[in-house]
């Protein structure tokens, strides 16, 4: 409620500033211009949105799958941890903005460089949070499992994997918000479609309102993804949201 009011106030302020401040519409369109563009350019926006959404969803799916596999491998094997963890951290120091065009030059204009860039960004939060979740199991519970004759994999299956699920979902929530940014960045580095491409293309065409409309669509998409994950969290890991021992 408070957030909605604040957003409304900001929109009104922006509208008044753009309308009354004598700002050229090509420099800063008013929210009403952006809304108009959302409607008139809906076909164009939708076509480009499906491209970007495809990249984002596929990129997240790949990151989640690869992230979970790597997290489990690192968790189970000290050697894996020593070999891959430093590289994993190092991969996050690569400035994506700079390597994006290089990846495009190498991998071409199609889906591959987008997946690589989205993956590079999303992978890390998934691995780190999942690893923390797997390692966060109470040591006494591990001892109990050992005296129940549970193998390493049984402990993983019955105890560690479910225990890590809330952390994995937290990682996924971080991943989806940055995935959208990654996809747009990749498109701007070299692409013939997608909302990132549309934003870049619309500016020299003096269709600034359309660029803003694309930004609105992207933000809405990220919010929807985040909301979907929050919902999945409530459904899949209800125990993680209940404080312990509050129901007698």
């Amino acid at each position: 409620m408070g957030a909605a009011l604040l957003a409304l106030a900001l929109l009104i302020g922006w509208e008044l500033y753009a309308d009354l401040g004598g700002i050229d519409q090509f420099l800063l369109p008013a929210p009403s211009d952006v809304a108009a563009s959302l409607w008139t350019d809906r076909g164009l926006l939708w076509d480009n949105f499906t491209v970007t959404a495809g990249e984002v969803l596929l990129g997240i799916a790949v990151s989640l799958a690869a992230g979970v596999v790597l997290a489990v491998a690192i968790h189970l094997s000290r050697t894996m941890r020593r070999a891959t963890y430093p590289l994993l951290v190092a991969s996050q120091t690569i400035p994506i903005v700079i390597v994006a065009p290089l990846l495009v030059a190498w991998l071409g204009y199609d889906l591959a460089p987008k997946l690589a860039i989205v993956g590079l960004i999303c992978f890390f939060p998934v691995v780190v949070t999942t690893l923390d979740g797997l390692a966060g199991v109470d040591p006494d519970l591990r001892k109990l499992m050992r005296t129940l004759d549970a193998s390493r994999l049984q402990t993983l299956r019955h105890v560690e994997a479910p225990a890590a699920l809330p952390a994995l979902l937290s990682g996924a929530k971080i991943a989806v918000t940055v995935a959208v940014i990654g996809a747009v960045l990749a498109e701007q580095a070299g692409s013939s479609d997608g909302l990132g491409h549309l934003i870049l293309q619309s500016i020299p065409q003096f269709e600034t309102a359309r660029s803003w409309a694309a930004v609105v669509v992207l933000a809405a998409f990220a919010i929807v993804l985040f909301g979907a994950l929050a919902l999945a969290e409530r459904r899949l890991v209800p125990w993680a949201h209940r404080s312990e021992g509050d129901i007698a």
Partner: protein, 258 residues
């Protein structure tokens, strides 16, 4: 809350053949950054098959180390530990919050290869006997502290091992629940005899529950005294004989003579 006294007849839970515990002249030292810490030095203690032995001692006397040695979770630096297959029951119930009470209790059966349905079928009959009927589907967060502890104990029993190593099993419960659970445990062990080694810092609990009480010295731990508790069950904490033994154990704990 139901307690113990009404114990419906249920088939005993499968356990392998009774086995005892023999700990002889055990030494255990930990290396830490600040030097070495001797946890146990020359500790000797035996538990006969299906005997209940309580270990009391000041905090940090190596009680937990002793349990882990018995459960083969660690090895002694010197001396010998001979114990039948033992299952460890940690201080907190540590039930899996995502699983139902039934699935929590049935965890050992799952680990031993039973299918989910099979494990549930085998664990279900014990629920009534443990005063848990009707709570099979409840999540741990929906259970009271005492019920959670009962589920945890049932899980321990369903491991089917002859030796139980209990680490301050009731330390986290409030006083009333704790007394109820002590009575309940005594009843459960009458029905399901096991070799029990349990550590506690509560001397009264030790005397009420155990056949024998071993008093440990401060670190490095060794057995200062052993007190047989030749009293009939059920015992009440206010029985004269219980009080007398409790005082003797307290004196031994404080470094006096018996």
């Amino acid at each position: 809350m139901t307690t113990t006294a009404e114990v419906p007849v249920a088939p005993p839970l499968a356990a392998s053949a009774p086995a005892g515990v023999r700990v002889e002249a055990v030494e255990r030292t930990y290396r830490t950054r600040r030097g070495t810490v001797a946890a146990l030095r020359g500790l000797t203690l035996g538990v006969a098959a299906n005997e209940i032995v309580a270990v009391v001692g000041p905090s940090g006397c190596g009680k937990s180390t002793l349990l882990e040695l018995v459960c083969a979770l660690q090895a002694p630096d010197a001396g010998r530990v001979e114990a039948g297959p033992a299952v460890y029951m940690p201080q907190r119930d540590l039930l899996l919050p995502w699983a139902s009470a039934l699935d929590n209790a049935a965890l050992p059966l799952r680990v031993h290869g039973a299918s989910r349905a099979e494990a549930r079928d085998r664990a279900r009959p014990a629920f009534a006997a443990f005063g848990l009927a009707g709570f099979e589907a409840a999540r741990p967060a929906e259970l009271s502290g005492g019920m959670r502890q009962r589920v945890a104990f049932l899980r321990t029993l369903l491991a089917g091992k002859p030796v139980l190593a209990l680490d301050e099993p009731f330390a986290s419960l409030d006083a009333i629940t704790r007394a109820e659970m002590q009575a309940w445990l005594a009843g459960a062990l009458l029905r399901e005899p096991r070799t029990v080694l349990f550590v506690t810092h509560d001397v009264e609990e030790a005397v009420v529950l155990a056949d024998r009480v071993a008093v440990l010295s401060p670190r490095p731990g060794r057995v200062l005294a052993e007190l047989p508790v030749p009293l009939p069950r059920p015992r009440s904490r206010t029985d004269g004989a219980v009080v007398t033994l409790r005082e003797r154990a307290m004196r031994a704990l404080q470094g006096g003579t018996l």
